[in-house]
């Protein structure tokens, strides 16, 4: 059991090597967050390009000392307001509200995801106002080669031998039986016993779909 600790996941070493290679000073590419542009650190924030379907205005929000946040237990540091030029916020106004009948008036103000304002219904309700902390979530780099399951696939092809779509399994059926056995299946002894039964194969063999049939 102790050897579990020694086996390092393949992804870890791969990840750390990338970390070393990353250049922190390169311009942040605008990727998935293109709707919210990010000013480079230390640079005065430019006017933000509004997302195509939201009315946007940049607010140099001074509410670091807003009464709004005074209730916080983890106090915002004194003097924080003076350094407010280190970050900026984006305010976006979206006029989108789902209609809600049967809920009291005070609940009318529903949170709506700003990204979805394309489907805004024509409800003339009060518009919602969102302030986003722009500096946060800065993109260091975008590598499409790391997107999706490509890293996972890399770990897979390095280890398997036969180049099949279903690697490391041989066929779709092979994989699906394995999946069934592990997720839905019986205990491992029961599975082994099933696979050992003579002749059951004939039934399966004669019907390609795997359904047993009667003569």
């Amino acid at each position: 059991m102790t050897d579990l600790s020694n086996t390092e996941p393949a992804t870890l070493s791969e990840q750390s090597s990338q970390t070393g290679a990353t250049d922190m000073d390169t311009d942040p590419p605008y990727s998935d967050d293109s709707a919210y542009s990010q000013p480079a650190p230390g640079e005065a924030p430019d006017l933000v390009t509004p997302p195509p379907n939201t009315r946007t205005s940049v607010v140099f929000d001074s509410d670091v000392e807003d009464s709004d946040d005074d209730g916080d237990q983890d106090q915002i540091p004194p003097g924080a307001g003076s350094t407010m030029d280190t970050y900026t916020e984006q305010a976006s106004q979206t006029g989108k509200f789902a209609h809600n009948s049967g809920v009291s008036n005070s609940d009318r103000n529903l949170l709506v995801h700003p990204n979805q304002s394309t489907q805004a219904p024509s409800d003339p309700g009060p518009s919602q106002f969102a302030v986003k902390f722009i500096g946060a979530g800065k993109v260091l780099e975008t590598r499409p080669s790391l997107a999706g399951y490509q890293r996972y696939a890399g770990g897979l092809s390095a280890e398997e031998n036969g180049p099949t779509e279903w690697a490391p399994f041989s066929t779709r059926r092979d994989w699906e039986v394995a999946r069934w056995a592990k997720l839905r299946g019986p205990s491992s002894t029961a599975l082994s016993e099933l696979l050992e039964i003579d002749g059951v194969s004939q039934l399966v063999h004669s019907v390609p779909s795997g359904l047993p049939h009667r003569d």
């Binding site: 086996t7 996941p9 992804t11 990840q15 990353t22 998935d32 209730g71 916080d72 983890d74 004194p78 924080a80 280190t86 970050y87 789902a98 809600n100 049967g102 809920v103 005070s106 609940d107 103000n109 529903l110 949170l111 995801h113 919602q128 106002f129 986003k132 722009i134 500096g135 946060a136 800065k138 993109v139 590598r143 790391l146 997107a147 999706g148 399951y149 890293r151 996972y152 696939a153 770990g155 779509e165 490391p168 092979d174 039986v177 394995a178 056995a181 592990k182 205990s187 491992s188 599975l191 082994s192 696979l195 050992e196 003579d198 059951v200 004939q202 399966v204 063999h205 047993p212 003569d215």
Partner: protein
């Protein structure tokens, strides 16, 4: 010989020696071989479990855990979640005047924002263990906070007996709560099984308790160790769309029931784990109290190394049990007393509501209450307690939820013995129920939070009735006190569905109970962890294959909304195709159906100047009904709208209109006519004014061609009951 099964089983005939694996073209011929493939050839999505052993007074204990940072990385980098992760805190307001703030997702709460500001401006820390200033300034601009949400709960893994498991789960707040709460999305990761020992070999009770607390914190600290460094300097993480950001994984919330909270915070049982209120004043809303002072506690704890003699005294002065290095001691930017979150299931349903039901049933006559329970008409969302509610025991949270739905309706006009006015009792019950439902709103505004506070206040203003009736002497219940902290927690971390213990209770089934069942019950943790790893690998590989095939599930977060989007749905064909109009009158109880239908025909045919009352009545009298039967639907459903991401319709509500009948077994099934309140366009958003009560609904679609020319066939024909 083999009847009733297939006849040609060639068992025993060695000539036909085909085996199932070969015939199917399987690459494995036994479970062991399959396991080998999974272990060796499928890549690890999540880190493997590590077994750790330690000695405690001559006994060896083991516990299993895995690298939490790698788990965070895997979750953060999950390609299926890539589209919906959030990276920045936001402030939402109901309008641009910024008067009323909206709280919903975790990133709309104050914690995230202040942490971002704190890490940005780098002065929030007066705590000794925080990072030196210079490093922060250089490294932290543009950092992405990854709030780590932890939960642990001891659970029984067998139905009978005392075998328990102690799993610890982890998830991150960047995932929208709508996705986080779905077990099928696997956003909660099991990061360890804590030892479940009771340390029974230690004879002194006090010392055993201390040891148990130390054991818990030791194991938790081991699990969270990787967060210490990463939370100080930040690490680079790549999300599933290939975008790398510098992230700061911070311990944000601890989700657990009261015993867990006590254990985590190091306070004494019976005290509030979050604030320093006197345990004898827990029931008093107006007692001044403040959050426990983390700095004071940390100072007291730090005396352990320098001044072991004064350690106990210092700890007791700071109001904490003498725990050797609690796990949160060295976690950067964390305040454990803020991190303890409200717990709807245990604090409200299984706590306060349980008490409330007990108080109410003591106050009123039990037989009366049970009789009223039995009289309740069936309704879609209401469970019928046919035995009443007073005799039940060992109730689940769900059963308490069912009771809460009917509680106010049961007692609303009941009399108390000795002519005591029941008004304060009704008010306090209503206030608590209001609190219960308000606390579960998926979206809160500053106003609704005020309503939440107000309802708690209303309860405390009226609770004296329970003392007067001799039911309670005081209200010094930690769970009742915990409601004080709800509004603040919602402001800090978003609404309560961000940190609900119900989700982890659900996880126990997959990750503890099923895992245990898959073992041979000896040295079970070794088997459970391997079973779990294999299962996770298979699931991950499945997602990968689906991605390869191009039909990967696009995970979309649904913005939380309080809107009631019920869509009216009917079966494709009527329940009965032709029901005689006489039967409508007699069996369906729609006495004036003919008249109402004629009126509808007259009104929809009529054009020109408005008819006066006399003319209308005359027209109705002479109107012709060209049919003697109508199709009838027996059920009206309100379901969620079907959109691209949500394929399943959920039934929100249903109305039944069904006359008495006999079942196949010859049993009489009583008629069921649900009451529906229909807003005919005159009513407001709430209240019953302007609505009309109908008990029967018909649609005339199938009989369109038989309606007189010009009559509107599309409407739902309703008739007044």
């Amino acid at each position: 010989m083999f009847t009733p099964f297939h006849q040609d089983c060639p068992i025993g005939t060695k000539t036909h020696f085909f085996q199932l694996p070969k015939a199917l073209g399987l690459s494995f011929s036994s479970a062991e071989e399959l396991n080998k493939i999974i272990d060796k050839k499928l890549p690890n999505g999540l880190p493997q479990f590590v077994r750790e052993e330690f000695d405690l007074l001559g006994h060896r204990y083991e516990f299993y855990h895995r690298d939490i940072l790698e788990c965070v990385r895997a979750l953060y980098g999950d390609p299926e979640l890539a589209e919906c992760l959030v990276y920045a805190p936001e402030k939402h307001y109901t309008s641009s005047d910024k008067k009323s703030r909206i709280f919903s997702e975790m990133n709309s709460g104050r914690w995230w924002w202040t942490r971002q500001v704190g890490s940005y401006l780098n002065c929030s820390c007066n705590q000794s263990h925080h990072v030196p200033q210079k490093e922060l300034e250089k490294e932290f601009p543009g950092i992405t906070i990854v709030p780590v949400i932890l939960s642990s709960d001891k659970t029984r893994v067998v139905l009978f007996g005392t075998k328990t498991a102690y799993p610890v789960y982890m998830t991150i707040g960047n995932i929208p709560k709508d996705i986080r709460r779905k077990p099928s999305r696997r956003t909660h990761i099991l990061v360890g099984y804590l030892p479940t020992t009771q340390l029974l070999h230690i004879s002194s009770v006090a010392s055993r308790r201390r040891m148990l607390a130390n054991l818990f914190h030791y194991c938790f600290a081991r699990i969270l160790k990787p967060l210490e460094g990463a939370g100080k300097t930040g690490i680079e993480m790549t999300s599933g769309n290939g975008v790398t950001r510098r992230t700061l994984p911070l311990f944000a919330c601890f989700v657990g029931d009261y015993p867990e909270q006590v254990l985590v915070s190091g306070c004494k049982t019976g005290e509030c784990p979050k604030c320093d209120i006197d345990r004898k004043k827990l029931g008093d809303l107006n007692t001044e109290s403040s959050y426990r002072d983390l700095q004071k506690v940390l100072d007291a704890l730090s005396t352990l190394d320098n001044d072991p003699a004064g350690y106990f005294a210092a700890c007791s002065k700071a109001g904490i049990k003498p725990i050797v290095h609690p796990f949160w001691e060295s976690l950067p930017y964390s305040d454990i007393y803020l991190s303890l979150t409200p717990d709807i299931l245990h604090q409200l349903y299984q706590g306060v509501m349980k008490h409330l039901v007990a108080w109410v049933t003591t106050a009123f006559d039990k037989k009366d209450l049970d009789a009223r329970c039995r009289c309740l008409p069936p309704n879609f969302n209401i469970r019928s307690f046919t035995k009443g509610i007073t005799s039940l025991s060992r109730l689940t949270g769900k059963e308490h939820a069912d009771m809460c739905r009917i509680l106010l309706g049961l007692i609303i006009d009941m009399d108390l013995p000795d002519d005591v006015s029941p008004i304060p009792l009704i008010r306090s019950t209503r206030a608590l129920l209001d609190f219960l439902y308000l606390a579960q709103y998926p979206v809160h505004t500053s106003e609704t939070l005020q309503l939440l506070r107000q309802s708690l206040h209303d309860f405390h203003a009226n609770k004296h009735i329970f003392v007067e009736l001799g039911i309670r002497k005081d209200f010094n219940l930690p769970k009742l006190h915990s409601l004080v902290h709800y509004a603040e927690s919602i402001e800090l971390f978003g609404t309560t569905d961000n940190y609900n213990t119900e989700y982890t209770e659900r996880l126990h089934i997959d990750l503890a109970k099923d895992a245990y069942r898959a073992t041979n019950h000896r040295d079970e943790y070794a088997q459970m962890t391997i079973w779990l790893e294999r299962k996770e690998k298979i699931l991950r590989h499945q997602s990968y294959l689906e991605w390869c095939l191009g039909n990967a599930a696009r995970v979309m977060a649904h913005p939380p909304s309080m809107a009631y989007n019920g869509v009216l749905t009917l079966t494709k064909w009527p329940s009965r195709r032709a029901v005689d109009l006489d039967e409508i009158v007699t069996k369906y109880g729609a006495v004036f159906f003919r008249e109402a239908l004629r009126r509808h025909i007259v009104l929809s045919k009529h054009s020109g100047p408005e008819l006066n009352r006399n003319q209308l009545e005359r027209a109705i009298l002479y109107a012709d009904l060209p049919f003697t039967s109508v199709p009838v639907y027996h059920k009206l459903k309100f379901t969620t709208p079907v959109d691209s991401a949500r394929t399943k319709r959920l039934t929100l509500d249903a109305i039944y209109i069904r006359p008495a009948r006999q079942s196949k077994k010859g049993l009489d099934i009583p008629a069921r006519f649900d009451t529906a309140l229909v807003n005919v366009g005159l009513g407001g958003e709430t209240g019953v004014e302007g609505t009309t009560k109908f008990i029967l609904a018909f649609t005339g679609n199938s009989g369109v061609h038989r309606l007189p020319h010009g009559a509107d066939p599309s409407g739902v024909f309703v008739t007044r009951g």
